[in-house]
């Protein structure tokens, strides 16, 4: 029928809109960073100088900063997320667990500037006065713990990021736990009456899914911009001098310097950084998605 054909192609057109946008996004970012790419080429990735005054740009310190900060935040977040998901699924009565789950999922929707604002004005002063200063007085002779203590820095930034990705990892872990087949759970219970055994066996069962959940969290942490820019201190350096030192990430430099970028090469270099960020996050997300799809397929067959 004619009407049906029109309907099909109209909806198909809009469905392709996102595919076309995706391709255009890659092309436009390339176009936007062309000036920087033609000037610095791939050595942009391994250069360690960021000098807007003389028009020299390199991203290595930012790449290291991004990797360290996002991995640290995953390290903080993963055990907590697994713990929270286990408590929600195994330990709490259904009603309380449901309410808490809604609260946690809602926290995933809280704007990142609010996390940043809290990190900057509440968490950073608290850590500076009560945690970092104590650590310094105890372990100050170790270089890792010496140096200026501003409260803000890459460690604080990782903590704020961890808070932001915990709801995401928790939600996925919770769903995975709930999807563990009854046969597995019964087998676990038969081995010992304790919840610990049950919990550990369930965790073992969902391992591949857990890996994918971590990757999703990691992808989010890598791309997170405003909160990290507010608490990391925004200082360009290859390595921080101590745990409490300031640093920079790929996304933070875009947020912090974009409005100050006064000439084309500067802007182009920032877009180039966006292109690098896109490459990294795409790799992480696509691997995570493929694992999740495979896992759900395998589970579907059982």
């Amino acid at each position: 029928m004619f009407g049906d054909k029109i309907f099909k192609y109209t909806t198909a057109f809009f469905a392709f809109f996102i595919v076309i946008s995706f391709l255009m996004l890659i092309y436009e970012l390339y176009k936007g960073s062309y000036l920087a790419i033609s000037k610095f080429g791939l050595s942009f990735i391994k250069n360690t100088v960021w000098d807007p005054v003389n028009g020299v740009f390199g991203a290595l310190p930012l790449i290291i900063g991004t990797i360290v900060v996002s991995l640290l935040s995953l390290l903080f977040s993963l055990p907590i997320s697994i713990g929270v998901a286990l408590v929600l699924v195994l330990y709490l009565p259904r009603k309380i667990s449901r309410g808490l789950a809604v609260l946690i999922e809602t926290m995933a929707g809280v704007p990142s500037v609010i996390y940043g604002l809290w990190g900057l004005y509440v968490l950073a002063p608290f850590l500076r006065e009560n945690v970092y200063s104590v650590l310094q007085s105890m372990f100050g002779f170790i270089p890792l713990f010496s140096g200026p203590n501003y409260g803000i820095g890459f460690l604080t930034g990782s903590m704020v990021l961890a808070l932001m990705i915990t709801p995401i990892i928790t939600a996925v872990t919770k769903d995975l736990l709930l999807a563990v087949p009854t046969s597995i759970k019964e087998a676990a219970v038969s081995l010992g009456p304790k919840k610990k055994e049950l919990a550990l066996i369930m965790i073992k069962y969902i391992k591949p899914g857990l890996f994918a959940a971590s990757l999703l969290g990691l992808g989010r942490a890598i791309g997170e911009t405003m909160a990290i820019s507010m608490v990391i201190g925004n200082k360009f350096k290859l390595f921080p001098s101590s745990l409490f030192d300031t640093w920079y990430t790929l996304s933070a430099i875009i947020a912090n310097e974009f409005l100050e970028a006064t000439y084309d090469l500067y802007i182009s270099s920032l877009v180039y950084i966006g292109l690098l960020l896109l490459a990294v996050t795409l790799a992480v997300i696509i691997i995570a998605r493929i694992i999740i799809w495979r896992f759900s397929k395998v589970r579907g067959e059982i």
Binding site: A15, G83, I254
Partner: protein
């Protein structure tokens, strides 16, 4: 005797395990409660009539409000919805109603990947595509917000259409109603609650977005003056105000944060309540 000891040890380990898990819960809940508490207690004193009716003060000036940021945010979201909602719903219809086509699983995959792209990158895309041509503008900002909305609306539309029982479609076909009429007047009707949920969630997401706003229209603190000009934005203002040394701006940042927090909580909880009601109805 021996068995008893082993058992006791097991019970002890189990208890320790439980305590560790509860600690994990507490470690997460304390900061979360602190975020909500501090935002409310620091934001509340900033809220008064001036806050909602006066424009943004210049740096260092006392008083003032965020009226033009409210206007600007509403305009940006309205424009983004104008593109994002129809595109999202129509592509969701295609992905659900023509799921037998091979191409749909590819589009679904791209859609999910697109959903995961950091918003700062979508902002940069819109910057190169639009802002570089016509300057920092609300048009460029709304386009980036629309691109953030579309995957969410698409996924939710697709899922809620799938939940409409096949028997309803079959009944309509048996009456000789064409597919497009069935989809629009019958299937879509059965799924509207889910779709509204998706729209609310996506608005909740873009209302707090500041990274794409920053790179597409920058910080602006005046009233709307045309689509090719910037507008003020609440979420971005929090960033700019918080990073400034001016007490009054920091005060406004907390006030704005409280307003956004309340809006985001409402936009997240209302859809959930709606879904809960629907679940009850189907049970």
């Amino acid at each position: 005797m021996q068995l008893n000891k082993v058992l006791k040890k097991k019970i002890l380990i189990d208890k320790a395990f439980t305590i560790i898990l509860i600690c994990a819960m507490i470690i997460y809940l304390v900061p979360i409660i602190s975020i909500i508490y501090e935002t409310v207690s620091r934001g509340l004193p900033a809220l008064n009539l001036d806050f909602f009716t006066k424009p943004i003060p210049t740096a260092g000036e006392e008083g003032g409000g965020i009226a033009n940021a409210i206007q600007g945010t509403v305009i940006s979201i309205a424009l983004a919805s104008l593109i994002g909602i129809p595109v999202g719903i129509l592509s969701g219809i295609f992905l659900s109603e023509y799921r037998e086509l091979k191409i749909t699983s590819f589009i679904r995959f791209i859609n999910e990947v697109f959903h995961g792209i950091p918003s700062i990158i979508i902002g940069l895309f819109s910057f190169v595509l639009i802002s570089k041509r016509i300057g920092f503008s609300v048009l460029a900002a709304s386009f980036s917000l629309a691109l953030i909305m579309i995957p969410i609306v698409t996924i939710v539309t697709q899922e809620s259409l799938k939940m409409v029982p096949a028997t309803i479609r079959e009944a309509a076909f048996s009456l000789g109603i064409p597919k497009w009429k069935t989809t629009i007047f019958i299937v879509l009707r059965g799924a509207w609650q889910g779709i509204v949920t998706g729209i609310l969630l996506s608005i909740g997401r873009i209302i707090g977005e500041s990274a794409p706003i920053l790179v597409t229209m920058g910080f602006y603190r005046w009233w709307f003056s045309g689509l090719d000009r910037p507008v003020s934005n609440m979420a971005l203002n929090i960033f700019i105000f918080a990073m400034s040394p001016f007490q009054n701006w920091v005060r406004l940042a907390w006030g704005t944060a409280l307003v956004l927090l309340v809006l985001v909580l409402l936009l997240n909880i209302i859809p959930r309540l709606m879904m809960l009601r629907r679940e009850v109805r189907y049970e």
